[in-house]
Every structure is written in C-alpha cells, then in structure tokens.
C-alpha cells in the first residue's frame, strides 16, 4: 500500500496585486512503505508548499492528499497522529529543556504523562541527546537543536516522516549524524519524504527522487532511472539538463 499519495495537488496564493500565483501546479506522486522519497528543486520550486500540503498545515486549492489512507483535508486529526514533521528552521521553546519539550509534545500526541516521560528517555538515549537533555533549548548549538527537533518529530513514533531540508545549515558532522538517524528510521520501516537542495545527499539517501520545477514534477524515479533517461551521470547535470530542456520546449510552444 502506498503510504503517501498526492493527487493533482494545486495551491494558489493571492498576490498583492490581486492576482493568484500557483506555487504547486497539479502535482501527483506516490510513496511506498519503507521508502525515502526526495523532493528536489531550486528555491521557489514549491517544495516547502508541497510538504505543507501533505501535512495538512495548508489546505490545497484543489486536489487531495492521503497519508496511510487518511484524507488530509477531511481527516486532519488522524493524519496528525501518524505524522512526524520537521523543518530546518523549526524553533524550539527556548525556556524549556530538551527533555521537557519532548514530554510536552508526547502529551500533545495524546500520551499519558508516564508514557511521554518514558518515550522522551528512549529518544534521548537513542539520539544521543543525554549530554544536553536538561539544558534549556535556548542554550543549544544548531546541530544539537536539530537533533532535538528530530526527536520531537519522532516522539509519537509516527509511520510517516516529512522533513523539509533537515540538514540545512548544519556542519559536516551534524549533517552525517542527522542523515544516519533518517536512514535508521527508514530501516525501521518508516516512510520518509524529504526535500533538499543538496543533490549528493539526495543521491545517497533517496530511493526515489522527484524533480520539482515551477510547482510541477519534471522527472521522477530512482537515480539509475534518471541517469538513463537523461544520459547524464551526476544528479546536478541531470537537473540542469531537464530544466533547460523544459525551458526550450516552453520557448518553442509559445
């Protein structure tokens, strides 16, 4: 069964001049269980909006999304219970310690206080947060913060994880640590969607890659498939070629 299904998703935003801008334009894709799906694209391609549409944070203008069979628009509460969501610039509560924060989010995910404490301890141990678990989040480094953030997203042990540029702004070491966590989650059978600009990272991590440009999916498949169809070796070249090709097509059509 496909854990994540996007069907003809469209999202329009009003522009200041009174018009409408399409950030996501008829996007459809599916992600199977235990897969990592990488959404790639330049800035403004619609990656973040797509992930927000999938998580129910935004309502699509048209089209629909399903997580584990639940309709995101009409069953938001069921969807939120099976979803872990993470962004690169997610803030933490500065005045709570990492442990307190994890317990709080556990309780918000409908756990009892004891269960939430137990789960927080598990995550602290498992993600190596123990050293700074009792420090206030305001005092943590960027890498430490992102580790706490991952723990927060995993607090309810969700079968689906959506991660918007999880490694943005991290140093090499932290980057490696975070990617290792994500792989471990996948190996544990979780379905993961992540967006990134780091093409090497996508090449390494993703089972399937979707290339997003102007709110549309211009290519999709595993890295091998992309290489074969484009005749390019490196993902960045594939990407450039595809965008370029597209622009040429557009120029011809108009």
């Amino acid at each position: 069964m496909d854990m994540v299904v996007a069907e003809q998703l469209v999202k329009e935003f009003p522009t200041p001049k009174g018009g409408l801008k399409r950030a996501v334009d008829g996007l459809s894709f599916r992600v199977g269980k235990g897969q990592i799906y990488g959404l790639l694209g330049p800035n403004g391609a619609g990656k973040t909006t797509t992930l927000r549409l999938l998580s129910g944070l935004m309502a699509p203008t048209s089209g629909s999304a399903y997580l584990a069979g639940y309709n995101v628009a009409s069953e938001p509460h069921q969807v939120k219970r099976i979803l872990g969501f993470l962004t690169a610039n997610t803030g933490l509560y500065q005045r709570l310690s990492a442990r307190e924060l994890l317990i709080y989010f556990g309780q918000l995910h409908l756990m009892s206080a004891e269960r939430a404490k137990q789960r927080a301890d598990e995550l602290i141990h498992w993600l190596g947060i123990s050293e700074f678990a009792n420090l206030r989040c305001g005092a943590l480094s960027t890498g430490q913060k992102q580790r706490v953030n991952i723990a927060r997203a995993l607090v309810a042990d969700p079968p689906i994880l959506i991660m918007d540029e999880p490694t943005l702004g991290l140093d090499v070491l932290s980057n490696r640590v975070i990617l290792e966590y994500i792989r471990r989650e996948r190996d544990a059978g979780k379905t993961i969607i992540l967006s990134t600009h780091y093409l090497d990272e996508a090449e390494d991590m993703c089972d399937t890659i979707g290339l997003l440009h102007d709110g549309r999916l211009i290519a999709e498949g595993d890295i091998q498939h992309l290489r074969e169809t484009s005749g390019e070796e490196r993902l960045s070249s594939i990407f450039l070629k595809l965008i370029h090709a597209r622009e040429q097509v557009e120029a011809l059509v108009s």
Binding site: F13, S55, T87, N89, Q94
Partner: protein, 723 residues
Amino acid sequence: MSLRHRIRTIYRKELIDILRDRRTLTAMILVPIVLYPLLLLGSIQAVSYQTEKFTEEEVVIGVINDAQGQSLDRLIRADAAALRREKEQQDATAENTELPPPLEKYAIKSLGSIHDLEARVRDRSIHIGVAFERDVVLDSPEVTNHITVHGDKEDIRSHHARRVVEEIIRRTADRARGERKAQAGLPATFDQPFSISFVDLSAPESILGQVLPLILILMTMTGAIYPAIDLTAGERERGTLESLMVCPVPVIDLIVGKFLVVTTVAIMGAALNLGSVAATVYFGGFDQVIAQTGGKMPIGTMVLILLCLIPFAVLVSAVMIAVCSYARTFKEAQNYVMPVFLAVLIPGGIAALPATRLEGMMLAMPVANMVLLARDLLLGAAVSPVNVIMVLLSTTLYAAAAVAIAANIFGRESVVFADAGSLKGTFERRLIRPTKLPSVSMSLFVVAMMFPAWFFVQASLSDGGRNAAADVLHGTARLMPVMFVALPVFILWYWKVDVRNALALRMPSGRHLLAGVILGVAAWVPAHEWNVLQARWLGVPEAVVKSAEQMAEAIRALPIGTVIVLIALMPAVCEELLFRGFLLSGLKASTRKWPAILASAAIFGVFHFFVFKFPVTVGLGVVLGYLCWQSGSILPGLVMHLLHNSISALSVVYPEWPTRIGVPVPQPDEAAASGLFVHLPLHVIAIGSAMCVIGWLLATRTVDGPTVPRGVIRAATVRERAF
C-alpha cells in the same frame, strides 16, 4: 486524552514557559514591588518637602511706593503681634484651635508704578504685588479699604504668597470689625445672621475608590500584554508554531490553554500590584496621608477589588490573545496592542468619572461596566444582584467571542506562514471558500457585537420608560428583521456559507412539527409555575411588575392581528433564525450537542435583558435548541415559539379565556406583585406537564442526514488504526 487533560497539559507548559522568562518576572513582580513604594512614597515626600520649603522661603511682595510699603509692613507686623498674643492666651486657657504661624520671612520692594509691579510679577522676580487705593484707615466705620493683589495663579509661589497675604488682611479685617462693633455697642453676632458648617459624609475609601479601579485595570492590562504577545505572535516568530500545528490537538484547545495562562498571569500581576499598594499604604506611612483625607483601606475591600478584577482579566486576556493572534511578529503585535489599550482605557475613563452610574447602557458597555461595578462595591453603594449578573454575563459573552476569534485566526495558514499571502486576504471575498456551516468564531463574534447594539437599541426605544410601550413594540418589530436576520444573512452570504444549511431552513418531519405544536401549546404551564416559584422565593422586582402592566395596557389597546404579529410572529421568526439558526449552527461546527444547545440558550436568555425572566427564557431556549438539533430544521421551534408567544399575548388580551379552563385570573386591582403569580390548578399542571413530556419524547428521534457534522473534538477520540 480528554479535553480537560489536553488543556491542562498546554496550560502547564505555557505557564512554566512564561514564568521562566525574565521579562515576565520583571514586569510582574519587580515593577509593582519597586514601583509603588517608589512612586507613592517618593511623590508624597516630594510634595511635603516642597510645601515645607515654601513656608520657609521668603515671601517677596512688590508695592508701588515706600508709603504703601510701610502700610503693608505695619499690617503684617500688627497681625504677627496679634497672632502671638492669641497664642499666649490659648496656652493659658489650654484651648486648642489651630493658629497659623505669623509671617516672619518676607521682603517688601517698592517699584514705582503698577506697570512695573505687574512686569516683575510676570517675570517672577517678585511673588505678588499689592496696591492700596488709599492710606489704610481702620478705625472709621465709613471706610472700606480697597486692596488689589497682582499675582500669577499658575505660579505655585505666587499662589502661596497671595494666600498668606490675603489671610493676613482677612484676620486684620476681622479684628477691625470686632473693634468697630464694640465701639458702636453692637453684639458680636451683629453681622453674622448665619453660620454654616459642613459635615463630610463621603465614604472613607472614596478617593482611592475612584482612582484605584482605573490604576488596577491598567496594571492588569499591562500584565496581560506581554504573555499574550509571547504566546501567540512570539510562538510564530520563533518558528515553534508549525510543529505545534502538526500535533493532533484542536487549535481551540491550544488557544484556550494559552488564554488561561494569560488570564492567570494578568490576575497574578493584578494581585501583586494590589498587594504592593496595600503594603505601601500600611507600612510606608502612607496611611497617615490617607487619614488626613479621611480614608482607610480595609483588607476586605482589597479582596473585593481582586474579585472584580477576575472577570476583567478574563475579558482583557481574551481580547489580547485575539488581537495578538493576528500578528506574525512581536513588533506587529505590539502595534496592534496599543489601540486596544486605548480602546479599553476610554470606557474605563468614562466609568471613572464621578457622575457615571451603573445603569442603562453602561450595564452592557464592556470594561466600563466592570469599572463601575468595582467602584460601587468599593464605595459600599447598593449594588443589585441583577446588575452583577448582567455585568458578569455580558463580560462572559464578550470573552467567549474573543477566544473563539483567536482560535479561528491562530490556525489560519495566512497567519501561520508569512509567505502564504497577506492577512487582508482573510476578508477578501474572492479568496473565501464556500462552507456548509458558519464557524463558531463568526457566529459568536456577530452575536457578541449584536448584544450591546441590541441593548442600546432597546434602551433608546424605551428611553428609560418614557416612550409608550406600543411604540417600543413597533420599533422592536421593525428592527428585529434587520439586526437578527438581514445582518447574519449578509455575513453568511459574504463568507460564502450555505445560508439554507446555516439557518437550518428545511422541511422537518411531521413528527418533529407535531412536537413543536404540542410544546408550543403546553410550554406556558411549566414556565408559569416556575415564575410563581421564583416569585415566592426571590420576590418580584417592581420594575418587572410595572413593565408587565404597561405592556398589558399597550397590548389591549392594539388590534389583535397587530398583537400577534408584534409579539408572536416577528420574535418567533427573527429569534429562531438568529439563535437556533445562525448561532446554533456556528456552535454545532465545533462543539458537541449539549454544550452547543446550552450555550445558545444562555445567550438567548442574556438577550432578553430582564434577569427575572432569565431562567424561563433559558429553559425555553434549551427546548427550542433541542427541537432544532433533533429535527435539523428551525421550523418546529419556530412553530413552538409562535404558539407560546401567542398564548401569552392572548391571555393578556382576553383575560376571561383562562378562567374557562379553571385558571384563576388576577383582577386588575390586585395585579400587584402577589396577584400576578398564582399557582395553576392541579389538573392544568398535570395536563400541561404531560403534553410537554409527550412533545419532548416525540422530538427525541433524530433525522438521518448530513446536518450534524462530526465535531473536531470527537475526531480525536476515534479509534487508532493499525498499520
């Protein structure tokens, strides 16, 4: 996890979070504890220091020439000598009236002309100028010595000098008058046909009572501002909102939790402020200053003020949360908060004016009614429980509307994400998506805004009972369709809500219609019996009896068709559309059955203003709401409402009808409080109650169909699926 559990979790976390913030602690604890003593003691010391300094300072008086200077000097010396003599006499007789100190430090400057004298007063190099019209003559009864004092009222030293000099002249005149009377052999009372003394009966707390509520309101608001911003706009700015929004918790729970924290902090702040004022008064020597003005502040009064502040804190916190929810950054929120601050201050200021009273429009004026209630309680004025209930109910309604709006705004994607379009889009019709039901915030907000408006309309229609009851009826019947129907319909249309569905305009089943008819025919029986019991238990306010009499008189004078239209048809149609249509639909969208029905009934009761009628109106509101909920249509309730009101109106127009079924009817002459409220005969009670039970049982079956959407709260309890 239950609703209470979720809100408690959120509440606990937010409270810890906000109390760990140094800025909150500073604003809440340090400011009052340091500020009050500093402000009160400091200002008092400054004032007393200044007063002391004046009396020690030399008084500089300008005169026109040396001769007049000598006259003035003689007057001052003579007065000083007389005062010293009087003091000696007083010491000898052990008498104890306060004598002013003689003027010793003074300088007289001769300046040449009136012109110079005025110029020197203006440039403040002398304090006052004194000019005699002629040489001073005291011993001739035919002479009045006219003296002109040139001074600057705005200059405190000039003011002081003038008082001192005028006092000297007055004492000298008194002594001269005494001597003149003695010479003429007249008694001392000759020129005193009257003497007046004044006994001050103002309540001891009056001075603080006038000012303190306003100060505390300011402090409570100040306490609410920071947490309100931090917990809403701050959450957004720090980027924690997104992770919160993907938790399976309804936004309303988040907002309620946050709102409770803001209220807690505001009340704690108010209590600390109050405690600091009290401590300053008791331990700072300030009580002496109050004692001079005849006041004291007992502990009981403090507790009373704090209790009054709680509903105010609730309202302010709700409004602040609503306003700050709209902001995306801390700074933006601060800009929004300022106008609110002023908006609260203006009614607060109006209420602080001594002439304002807690009556009429003021009862429904947000903030002002709280300030007035607090003041009246402080001053020990008689406060009717009816007014207290009115103030509390209207405040609760406003606060509920504000919280609902906050919840609506808080979760909006244009507010959560800065890049998702402007806030203006919230009100742009082309961007609004069609919905089946109005949101709870829309209906609560509209009804909350309508409440004071309707109150003012009613108050101005009756103009304090000066207008004829028939005119009030006509005016009400004309305005009701506009306010209760046209306005909500316009709002529903604008927000693209399905009007037919929102107002429950559909054909009900015959069964529910029958229930409406039966209940409409019989509901007056329990209503009447309750009124009798309530009248026996609590008594009947004179105003209720009087207005009932006026209404009865007006109704009898109108044609019967008009009566049915004004009293039964218009209210039945308009009130059903507003309360069971618009309001109940909004509540339906996010609450469960009974809370929604009870809340709509309570608001229906509040809209009837007369607290005496409140229980019966709420009871009817519950039945009407139940009928609407069960049938999915407002028609059964409309029929019931129409019949019920018609029966009450007809029983007034045809008083002989009730006697036919054995109901005693009070004669006009015994229509005083006791006569109006007589129990019905047992068989009528029995039949009426039986009909009500039958009507209710008929209504218990619900209709199938999509009219009752699943509430968000229930969604959270849905069984977890296995993966």
